[in-house]
């Protein structure tokens, strides 16, 4: 009986594997090894990128019923943020104090709700005082402790990227005033909103104190960020470029998650009772984000250079040799393939594994899986589903942003770079079944391969390249005919 269940439960997966195996054998024999391997690897690269966008999309839709049309914009945003951090983080660090200042109300509000241990509340004033002293010391001493300023220009020149030059910043004095002004406004807002939701209760002094602690902590952060505004980007540019690249992946993903969280809390959350408006809001947001990006970076296409780890001249005979040579291409089964693209495939696989671990072995994952099926019941168990929504939105946005940075070194960084990926990701979600990250992985794999082999066929028989794009829609149609809920969707 258990065995029967195994085949029935995994029918979709087995079906896909069998079809892929058959097509693989046909392709291998008709195309020859070189063309087949090259096309397959291209397909896997594309599939990995599709998956990074689709994974968040499917979870957000499955759990929250939100069709997030701003997901491609998160991909684009991630690419810009990561690329900026990698090539010239001046701008990002310059923005940090302003953003921190803007966060003052949020931080105060958060702290008013948090349970802060009694002991910490008691010692908070002295801790903040100490932090203040440190900040003042840094300010007086000047932050250029490592004498970074002098070496900074050298570093930016050797980065050999036309954009990597220390762009002039606004005078610190003016910047200070602006940051301080925003912060005070924010702190006032924080106190205004520290009242708990229940209108029958008055503000507890305890809550005001906590909100103030929150604002105080943030004030220290803001001051430090302001002081670091000039030294930090220089320091980052002095890092090893590989380290900087991986840091860029992390920074981009975290910033993407943060922006996603802010979007969910401010724009999506008030509209759960009006799902249509949510769709309109995300559509509008996609345009706004794109316009903002164009404003900040001009409507140009940029190219992010690959980190040295994947860009040494020459070709490695195999993966192991690549570890030593870090060459730009690797020989895989007789095919010369860019090593960076192999890294993207690895990144996609790692993400799938991480997501599978999160979904199957953590409480958050359990709540998400349960919530995809029955949100109300999860809430009826005493779980704050709203908070889980925010986390999932952050997770999805972070993954999309990570995909964006991953893609930046081999597709142009430009304002509309996310659109095509968003469209494909929606198709992936439909194929895989709403709410199933495993389905998204399979769907992304299918679409990536379809695109790659479609392109190959179009080139070989000099057909229109539109055939590759059409093939993804055809796959979707076939899957929906066989399984209306998608490969791993559940019939309700």
């Amino acid at each position: 009986m258990m065995r029967n269940n195994f085949f029935r439960d995994n029918a979709a997966l087995l079906g896909v594997v069998v079809i892929l195996a058959v097509l693989g054998v046909v392709g291998y024999t008709s195309m020859g090894q070189t063309a087949f391997v090259r096309t397959t690897l291209s397909g896997l690269t594309l599939g990995a990128l599709f998956f990074m966008v689709a994974a968040g999309l499917t979870l957000i839709f499955g759990l929250m019923d939100v069709l997030n049309f701003a997901h491609g914009a998160m991909f684009m945003l991630g690419a810009y943020l990561g690329w900026q951090f990698f090539t010239n983080p001046t701008f990002l660090f310059g923005l940090a104090p302003l953003i921190l200042a803007l966060l003052a109300p949020l931080f105060g509000w958060l702290f008013a709700r948090l349970e802060i241990p009694e002991a910490l509340q008691k010692s908070a004033p002295s801790l903040l005082g100490l932090a203040g002293v440190v900040v003042v010391f840094l300010a007086v001493r000047g932050l250029d402790i490592l004498d970074l300023a002098k070496t900074a220009m050298v570093a930016t020149m050797t980065a050999a990227d036309p954009l990597a030059e220390a762009t002039p910043q606004e005078a610190l004095s003016i910047f200070w005033l602006r940051t301080a002004g925003m912060f005070i406004a924010g702190a006032l807002l924080a106190m205004a909103t520290s009242r708990p939701g229940d209108k029958t209760r008055t503000v507890h002094t305890d809550q005001v104190r906590r909100a103030l602690i929150g604002a105080g902590v943030l004030l220290v952060f803001t001051i430090v960020a302001t002081l670091f505004r000039e030294a930090a980007p220089r320091a980052v540019l002095l890092w090893d470029a590989n380290l900087r690249f991986f840091a860029a992946l992390l920074v981009g993903a975290l910033l993407g998650a943060g922006i996603g969280g802010a979007i969910e809390v401010t724009l999506i959350r008030p509209l759960y009772v009006r799902p249509i408006y949510q769709v309109i809001v995300t559509l509008g947001l996609a345009y706004v984000l794109r316009e903002v990006i164009q404003l900040l970076w001009q409507p140009l296409a940029y190219q992010m250079s690959r980190p040295p780890l994947f860009s040494q001249p020459g070709k490695a005979e195999n993966i192991f040799e690549w570890f030593r040579t870090n060459s730009v291409t690797v020989d895989v089964l007789g095919v010369t393939f860019p090593s960076y693209r192999l890294f993207i495939i690895l990144l996609g696989v790692l993400m799938l594994v991480a997501l599978a671990l999160l979904m199957n072995y953590t409480r958050l994952g359990m709540i998400i899986r349960a919530g995809v099926q029955d949100r109300q019941m999860v809430e009826a168990l005493g779980i704050n589903v709203q908070r889980v929504f925010t986390l999932v939105f952050m997770l999805g946005a972070g993954l999309a942003a990570l995909g964006g940075i991953g893609a930046a070194p081999f597709i142009p960084v430009q304002p509309n770079m996310g659109d095509a990926f968003q469209l494909q990701a929606f198709i992936v979600v439909v194929i895989g079944g709403m709410g199933s990250y495993g389905g998204a992985a399979i769907g992304a794999l299918l679409l990536g391969l379809a695109r790659a082999f479609g392109d190959y066929l179009a080139l070989k028989y000099s057909l229109s390249p539109a055939i590759a794009e059409a093939s993804t829609v055809i796959i979707m149609a076939i899957v929906l005919l066989v399984r209306p809920a998608g490969l791993f969707g559940r019939k309700e």
Partner: protein
């Protein structure tokens, strides 16, 4: 007054979309007892439970739990105050294993470990099925899991919606026994169409009709009043009256 009643509902009005579903429901649930909500299909019994929990928050009226007003609070806060919910139609998480279905109901770390023995003593079957996915359970087993899930956290009040629905007679007996046992430690507000079950378990009853509470009293008195039973509960109860 707030002391003997764990739950007090005062003329709540609930809207779903633009539909006015509850038009004044009032209830009082005394501590450590079983109170049953009766009424025809569509009378608003399920909506009443959901309104108490805040899943469909009432627009007007007062809900007091343990002396505290809870209407308007988010559902998760209300539930976390100590209310367990067993929804109708055995709504367990079908894509989660039995273990996970119980684990997810923990409100404090270790809740399940502390309650496991108690839960398995009520539902020995669940021990055997512990690792299976929820959708492999039979209907009766799913119903048991739904009840068990509400017992994991420390709840003072259980809202149980039609536990006998679709169960074989022998299982209904078992379920009755279980609920009776539970009522020794927790208060139960039960929605039940099976009048035999309702009449044997409950001390107090409320009858809903068209979104309003129309009758209330001691179960012992209702059992005598065949005419009222027939008028208010109609065919759904005739089989019960015969038994």
């Amino acid at each position: 007054m707030g002391n003997d009643n764990i739950l007090e509902v005062e003329s709540i009005h609930t809207f779903i979309g633009q539909f006015h579903i509850l038009e004044g429901v009032s209830l009082q649930v005394p501590r450590s007892s079983i109170t049953v909500l009766l009424g025809r299909n569509g009378a608003g019994k399920t909506t009443t439970l959901k309104s108490i929990l805040g899943l469909t928050p009432p627009r007007h009226g007062v809900v007091r739990f343990d002396g505290q007003e809870i209407q308007g609070k988010p559902a998760y806060e209300i539930a976390a105050m100590g209310i367990g919910y067993v929804p109708e139609h055995r709504a367990i998480f079908r894509n989660l294993s039995v273990a996970e279905n119980l684990k997810i109901a923990e409100r404090k770390k270790g809740d399940l470990d502390r309650k496991a023995d108690f839960i398995f003593s009520l539902f020995p079957d669940l021990k055997r099925l512990y690792r299976l996915p929820g959708n492999h359970l039979s209907g009766g087993q799913q119903q048991m899991l739904a009840v068990a899930r509400a017992l994991v956290a420390d709840n003072q009040l259980l809202l149980i919606d039609e536990p006998s629905e679709g169960l074989a007679p022998i299982l209904i007996e078992q379920m009755m026994e279980t609920i009776r046992n539970l009522s020794a430690t927790t208060t139960v507000l039960l929605v039940e169409q099976n009048f035999i079950m309702a009449s044997q378990l409950a001390e107090n009853y409320y009858i809903l009709d068209d979104g309003k509470t129309v009758h209330q009293g001691k179960m012992a008195d209702l059992v005598q009043d065949k005419e009222l039973i027939h008028r208010m509960l109609g065919t759904a109860v005739r089989s019960g009256g015969a038994g």
